[in-house]
């Protein structure tokens, strides 16, 4: 079990402890189900942490004894070995993502959600598509801009005109339009 998995266990433990603590303030009937779920869940998280610690100690001991080295069997959370059928998938062929690329992708995602909330779909969608295609997919500025414009138009026509849904317009868009008297 890797360190990242242990960190996830700690997060889950914190979530369950908080939810059980909050449930304790409810009436007896209302807190029944959260207790039925939360208390065993806390127990399982603690058991998992204990297993991780025990596993880490064993691994340290094993490291002190000379072993076969590179042929050790894969553990959960690790990439499968080359002989494993799952490793021939396209994801395996491309390799694991680097932390930097993960952070970059997450930044786009969070910025997009923030943009959606503040400026709505009609502003956030073309910006995300154009910037991402230009910077990450290495398309030319013209191609990225054109794709963004066509896609936004398609989304607008499909959802707002054809299906008559009202998409989120953003909290700031209307104010900005008023402020600049567009």
């Amino acid at each position: 079990m890797n360190r990242f998995s242990s960190a996830v266990t700690v997060v889950m433990l914190a979530i369950f402890v908080t939810m059980v603590a909050v449930a304790a303030t409810y009436s007896e009937q209302a807190r029944f189900m959260p207790f039925v779920i939360g208390i065993p869940a806390i127990g399982l998280c603690l058991l998992q942490l204990a297993t991780d610690l025990h596993g880490a100690r064993r691994a340290r001991l094993a490291a002190a004894v000379p072993g076969p080295g590179p042929d050790r069997p894969p553990q959960q959370g690790e990439a499968p070995s080359a002989g494993d059928p799952a490793s021939v998938s396209w994801q395996a062929a491309l390799g694991a993502p680097s932390v930097a690329s993960e952070i970059r992708t997450w930044t786009y995602f969070v910025a997009y959600i923030g943009g959606l909330l503040l400026f709505g779909f009609h502003v956030a969608v073309p910006i995300l598509v154009a910037v991402y295609l230009f910077v990450e997919a290495k398309l030319s500025a013209l191609a990225a801009g054109f794709a963004a414009a066509v896609f936004t138009l398609a989304v607008y026509l499909m959802f707002e005109r054809l299906l008559e849904f009202r998409l989120h317009e953003g909290f700031l868009t209307e104010r900005l339009i008023d402020a600049f008297a567009i």
Partner: protein, 504 residues
């Protein structure tokens, strides 16, 4: 009964709008299936905004068709380049790619596409045949059994998806159950965990949670990995229609193998958590074992292409059974599909057999008709569709992200769902990164509400003795046996690891 069965078929075929939707679903499903990185999960996630507000049957037929035909085109990259689109297609690579290298790519594709379609149809037939058998069993279930079914479903998926460590799967399942308690308590009316956030009074949006736990992490992972499979070695073979037809004819030539592997695939699909990979590998193994010339396998045996393809598509019919009648999705793709079904107003459970059998039959016919259209279409267009396997994953990321956010917003027309999407996606990504299974989460979330009501009802009806009802006892025994075996397997794995590290 016959009226319901054929009424559903007539309803499908006589409605130009539904047939049009099916055709769109087939085309989209095939194109998405052939594009590396976008599996069934993401295709359903992308389709959610389009089905919102649709008629229940039209929307469900669109989604099931889209999901069912995904796998039909997924094997193209396995055969042409030796790189499977997803785990389901990995077994096909073993003999499909050698065939392509021998200049028989079109023959392998013809056989795999036809086998896939036939498998999908037989899977739907197996599901249909099991309905009258299962009906009396499902209708006997009382509230206590439904509570225990929820627990069994979580344990089962946790066991199958977690590998040797079942605890992580159970934690994720309990997290789903815990999240289902958010909102108004069905017994007292007290609002739990929601505070003044009105959007949470009806509970966490299922579509948002499912998109966050499954679709967003997959998409972000695709973005982080990027690139295409353009660097993969190409067979250099051009697809001739003569070879394609000769490949198609291999399927009736091996009809007995096709029926056997379809049945195995459908049964594997019924077991939640096993998925298409298990079905494909199991049937590949079966084809090798039952062959008189097993030495041909791995070098370009056509049976090695037919068996896994039939099985991986036949499992779709089988996995509908636990999904629709128990609310326990057979796979993560089915989990997202189930979330979309609930959004459309389809409530899984025994009422599907009593009140909504027309919907069930419509879905079965959609599988049959969808597969027929998909096979016909793909056999014609497969030589051009292969180009899509070279699409750079990064180009698709912003478009998928937009569809996910649209689905999240439109599921309830609440901007707050977009706020919920971000932290839940982080958790989903963390589960994926840590190698924790995510499927138990959906079962917990979907069955949580039913399980809570069922538990309260059971306690009111029978007190704490509800555990002693015969069917309940059987379910409890299954849960205990499953956990005991998981612990035994965990200890065994650790012993092997220690023996291996200390005593080389």
């Amino acid at each position: 009964m016959l009226e319901t069965i054929f009424g559903a078929l007539f309803g499908l075929l006589s409605s130009p709008s539904i047939m049009g939707l099916m055709l769109v679903a087939v085309v989209c499903g095939l194109l998405v299936g052939v594009t590396p990185g976008i599996g069934g999960k993401l295709s359903i996630a992308m389709a959610i905004p389009f089905v919102f507000g649709m008629d229940m049957i039209a929307g469900a037929v669109f989604l099931i068709t889209l999901h069912a035909v995904n796998g039909t085109s997924g094997q193209i990259s396995s055969i042409m380049f030796g790189i499977p689109g997803d785990g389901d297609d990995a077994a096909t690579t073993l003999d499909g790619y050698p065939l392509a290298k021998q200049g028989q790519a079109a023959r392998a594709l013809g056989a795999s596409i036809t086998a896939s379609g036939v498998g999908g149809i037989i899977g739907a037939i197996v599901f249909a045949l099991l309905i009258p058998v299962l009906k009396p069993i499902v209708l006997q279930f009382s509230p206590s059994e439904f509570f225990l079914i929820a627990l069994l479903g979580i344990c089962f998926i946790a066991f199958l998806a977690s590998g040797p460590n079942i605890i992580t799967g159970l934690i994720v399942g309990l997290w789903g159950l815990m999240l289902s308690t958010v909102g108004m308590d069905p017994m007292t009316g007290i609002v739990r965990y929601a505070g003044d956030a009105l959007v949470l009074w009806d509970g966490v949006s299922l579509v948002t949670a499912v998109l966050a736990i499954f679709a967003v992490p997959e998409m972000l992972s695709l973005g982080a990995r990027g690139t295409s499979i353009a660097a993969a070695p190409r067979s250099g073979d051009t697809l001739s229609y003569r070879q394609l037809v000769s490949g198609m004819l291999e399927v009736p030539r091996h009809w007995w193998l096709v029926i056997r592997t379809s049945a195995i695939g459908a049964v594997v699909g019924m077991i939640p958590g096993l998925g298409g990979s298990a079905a494909a590998w199991l049937c590949y193994g079966h084809a090798v074992q039952s062959s008189k010339t097993p030495e041909r396998f791995g070098k370009g045996a056509i049976e090695g292409v037919i068996a896994p393809e039939t099985a991986s598509n036949a499992k779709e019919g089988g996995s509908l059974l636990p999904t629709l009648f128990f609310g326990v999705p057979g796979s993560s793709g089915m989990a997202i599909l189930l979330g979309a079904f609930i959004m459309l107003g389809i409530q899984p459970g025994p009422t599907m057999m009593t009140n909504h059998l027309d919907v069930v039959w419509s879905l079965i016919w959609a599988l049959v008709v969808g597969n027929l259209i998909a096979v016909t279409l793909l056999l014609v267009i497969c030589r051009w569709v292969t180009v899509l396997t070279f699409v750079n994953g990064r180009i698709l990321v912003p478009f998928i992200l937009v569809f996910i956010s649209l689905g999240c917003f439109l599921s309830e027309f609440q901007w707050q769902n977009l706020v919920i999407l971000a932290p839940f996606s982080l958790l989903g990504y963390a589960f994926m990164r840590a190698g924790w299974p995510r499927a138990p989460f959906v079962i917990g979330l979907i069955l949580g509400g039913t399980a809570e009501v069922a538990l309260h009802q059971s306690l009111q009806l029978w007190g704490l003795w509800f555990f002693l009802r015969p069917v309940s006892l059987v379910l409890i025994l299954m849960i205990v046996a499953l956990l005991a075996y998981a612990i035994y397997r965990n200890i065994q794995t650790k012993t092997v690891l220690v023996e291996w590290t200390v005593d080389p």
